[in-house]
Symmetry: C2
Subunit: 242 residues, 2 copies
Amino acid sequence: MPQIKQPSIKTLKGLQTEVQSINRIALSVDCVIFGFDENKLKVLLIRSDVKKFIGMWSLLGDLVKPEEDLDSAAYRILKQRTGLKDIFLEQVHTFGETGRHPAGRVVTVAYCSLINIQNHRLRILDNELHWHDANSICDMAFDHQVIFNSCYKWLQKRVQEHPLGFNLLPNKFSLRELQNLYEAILNKKLDRRNFRKKFFAMDFLVDVGEDEQNVPHRPGKLYKFNFEKYEKKKKKWPGIDF
Amino acid sequence: MPQIKQPSIKTLKGLQTEVQSINRIALSVDCVIFGFDENKLKVLLIRSDVKKFIGMWSLLGDLVKPEEDLDSAAYRILKQRTGLKDIFLEQVHTFGETGRHPAGRVVTVAYCSLINIQNHRLRILDNELHWHDANSICDMAFDHQVIFNSCYKWLQKRVQEHPLGFNLLPNKFSLRELQNLYEAILNKKLDRRNFRKKFFAMDFLVDVGEDEQNVPHRPGKLYKFNFEKYEKKKKKWPGIDF
DNA sequence: GCAAAAGTGTTGGAAATACACCCATGT
DNA sequence: ACATGGGTGTATTTCCAACACTTTTGC
């Protein structure tokens, strides 16, 4: 027979004791910020300032303060490290292995974002903050390679289900730029005609009536993404498929 | 001009101080365990043992210990609360708003699982642990309603992309049972013939050569899911689609 | 006029949907 | 015999993939 124990009611005071007990853990946020430039997918990295990992690359991270929301912490860290604000951030995964940080127990929550490199100049360049080619990363500090890989996969999946990619492009963009972006993220060539067809069929692109400038060939039309229209229509789920 | 500051190298000792500083936070895990019984989707709940939420329903949760992996904590909590083991658990999302716990700052990581109710009898029934109808939940403690909703959506999406659902069924199951399961999770009717066609086309179901017993009509054939074959073939991503 | 990329349509195959009939079993 | 759900096939449509030529611009 299963054992049944009567519950012992926990008072607020009792709980407070538990919460303030030794069962507390350092919690950090690491931001994986994707950009797009020269037809390559980029990611913001700094040099690790931790002695053990000297010279290696690191994501943008910091400890979460006891009195700040997790999301707020992510925004604060991004702002502190880069000067960037008005960016959307999305939580991806939490990494909580005991051995992941050399100085003790630190659980970290990974946040992702996609921003347009041209529109958001970096205002702080401490620790060699720079846009790093997302496809040639090595020598990362901590378990940041694992975190990055996880976020990259998240991006690849997410960009096919939601109109995230447009955050990486200028407000007005050509279809060629859009396709280059998708090819860079998914890391494969796409058929130009079918690509156009697909995006026009979605009916979220607005012709702004302008052309590309300073291209050494026939200029393409510029479009912008109609986020409002998208929000209204949203998506229906695809069927069962695995 | 952007400011550039030279990095100050952090030694291990310095880091340890930071990690052990006041910047520590109580971290908990909450488990959302789905089951399937009588053609209804169920979820494991207990009565909250917190005075403020007395009488309300609660997910299975506990604080993470400083020396245990996050995943391990999830398995421990599940085992402690229900006696269940040999269950796969998947991390879904981390909830970190400052106001979510009345006794102070507690960040919680939600884990999900799907188990077969018949195969896994509950061995511990403390705090009125029971299978609750997933579609008629109200009065949940803390922000557990939010967490549950998030996990339910995760399930609905996940079950269409991965063969999770089979964990909710007996080893051998009829196609009708499988369809009932999908209809319960997705909360919509599906066409029986097309449903069969889809699953047979995937070619992961194995006819075990037995029939249903004790049904008041023609018995259906029983199948099992070939996880090995699935692992080998896996899925190719669906195209861009939103 | 030439290079380079923009822009455009059609066609065949695969997959999803909608739909109707016969079959096996328990009562 | 009949009620209940099991089991099957086909026609239609929709979506996706493959593919080639003409147009516009900069040089």
